[in-house]
Point group: C2
Chain length 342, copies 2
DNA sequence: ATCGAAATTGGAAACGTTTCCAAAATCAAG
DNA sequence: CTTGATTTTGGAAACGTTTCCAATTTCGAT
């Protein structure tokens, strides 16, 4: 099992170079106090033996692993994978490698993942907690034993965070629809206890109020980030007698559900109902008609998260880092004035 | 920097339990030869101190890290992230954590990633090499120093692999189109030096031959897995005088490009041109019209890759593992008989 | 009670680094 | 040359485990 019986170690390098362990280590880490001639000899020996340092041993001794973890609810989906990709791209040049794991919306599982990463001596965590309310997960963070960056979440602790201005996004969507003449505007979003949903609801209600439109609870559907949930809600909404003339779909997973419901009820977008997507993607961009969406810069969000975490590791007591990413509305062809009669 | 000054170690547990290191270690690893009463004492001490073993130290001593890496060209995209997710789900219960990294189609970068993972003592690799031809990457595998599973690639070495039957898939697409009356069928796929493309081309040509249709090189466009490439090729193809009546788009990234080209040329799918997608996804499923695609079970592919790698670690000299995943054609509404005149 | 076998136990050694300290070599100034 | 300061060097100790071996305890049979 134990591969690497034949691995060359720093001792071999020292022997071949005819120098001591200390000197080799100093060369490896670019430390001062090593004669130019010795450095050359060490480098030659390294080259000759094909030596490369054992990062596990290094972690062991140094107490840090140059390793980060990215924990989300679910990787299946273009946005979170784009984020992971961006994070990895950002931290790789700094010598870090990235673990990823999904909690599948299960706080229990999430906790187990965090614990295991802690045991692996991961240097830091980028995490979109499955819930903002789970006390077990919260208390795992409370002791401050693990540097972390929150991804689109809001926790009571004073943690570094990158967030998207979903409230602003929802407001942009409502403004746009109102300007087209809509008054009965529905919102569908996912899990009620996470930042993206609470913010969307807040932005939606505030925008309605601003336009003097009464908020009807029946039009605000919040539950779970799944295609099925979105489908059911959209179906119920669009099938009702006083159906909304527009739907704001929060989150990527909502869009397919809404489209399917509209299709099954033989409602044509945007003639019969207007739709604004809560995040951009291939589906929104290339479907017919292309869908108006609220979007933001995924890659930059990921890079920022990675950078925040790297900063934090360098300066554990530095000031809290936060950034709220603005959204923007991309008008395409899924919104039109409301139909006359219904 | 060195967090964890206060961490509790196996020595503390031994002291509190009033037993030796060996005994504690035996309890931790469920080894035999430990008295029931001692076991209880150790467990109590662990509980009391909140001890959890340091996985880095364990790796150090054991020579294996319980860590795997997943290296692909690009994570942005639903398929590869679904695969990563499946791999992670499969290996997590076995105690493994998963690193991910993108090579961005750059063999140089890919090599650097592999080297770093080796230095991290990763136990194994699941990899979709950026090219099947790069000698540097090949030779890195040749020494057999790292167990690995190939993902949709074919290399001369006798390596474990999971692959998709893209040749069969392309043939299914061609058969379907021919049965509708098409004769001028184009294929667009990505990088020419990787398994999915070479197989698609092979399947495409064989199917054409089987139907007695002459292969026209101009209709077979192969280059890069990018939306832009697909767009350009589709635009050229559909804008030509003898334009194809059907296009087979190999790979997810191809689809948006083809759709956009058709849209800009004001060609209606499937009236003016039929389209078969080379992989399924939200876009294909929910766009209007829904697109006929060739697909396969992404999650099962990922799980199998994970399982193969775990098997290999358990039995380094076991028989070579391979699996070719069948594709199936999902008829939707993007294919129709060819237009009469063009 | 006594003996041999089996079960249980403790702790040194090892894994491959980096860090630290003391020793050796070099240098500059007198 | 001598001396004191500085640079360079070597190697023991430490990081937290597991493994191994020898020592001790327990057990069963006589």
């Amino acid at each position: 099992m134990a591969r690497g019986r034949d691995e060359v170690t720093i001792k071999d390098v020292a022997r071949v170079a005819g120098l001591g362990l200390g000197t080799v280590s100093r060369v490896l880490n670019n430390k001062p106090h090593v004669n130019e001639k010795s450095r050359k000899r060490v480098l030659a020996a390294i080259e000759q033996l094909g030596y490369s340092p054992d990062l596990v041993a290094r972690s062991m001794r140094a107490g840090e692993s140059k390793t980060l973890a990215f924990v989300v609810r679910d990787f299946t989906g273009a946005i979170l994978s784009a984020l992971a990709d961006a994070v990895q791209g950002e931290i790789d040049p700094l010598g870090f490698s990235l673990f990823v794991a999904s909690s599948y919306h299960d706080p229990e599982r999430e906790l187990a993942l965090i614990r295991r990463f802690k045991a692996r001596r991961v240097d830091g965590l980028i995490i979109a907690t499955s819930s903002e309310a789970d006390p077990a997960v919260l208390s795992e963070f409370a002791d401050g034993s693990m540097p972390l960056v929150l991804l689109d979440r809001e926790l009571p602790e004073a943690l570094d965070a990158v967030q998207v201005d979903h409230a602003g996004g929802a407001a942009q969507a409502v403004d746009h629809l109102v300007s087209l003449g809509h008054r009965r505007i529905a919102l569908i979003s996912g899990e009620p206890d996470v930042f993206p949903t609470t913010e969307r609801v807040r932005g939606y209600r505030e925008a309605l109020a601003r336009h003097g439109i009464r908020h009807r609870p029946a039009l605000c559907r919040v539950g779970s980030f799944s295609v099925d949930f979105a489908y059911q809600q959209a179906f119920a909404l669009l099938g009702s007698k006083q159906r909304p003339t527009a739907i704001v779909a929060g989150g990527t997973a909502m869009l397919p559900g809404v489209l399917r419901a509209a299709q099954e009820l033989e409602l044509v977008i945007p003639r019969d109902v207007s739709v604004v997507g809560g995040a951009d993607g291939d589906l929104a961009r290339y479907s017919t008609p292309p869908l108006t969406v609220v979007t933001w810069d995924y890659a930059e969000l990921g890079r920022t998260a990675g950078r925040f975490l790297a900063n934090r590791l360098e300066d554990p007591d530095g000031p809290r880092q936060r950034r709220l990413f603005p959204t923007r509305l991309v008008p395409r062809q899924s919104c039109a004035p409301p139909p006359d009669d219904p």
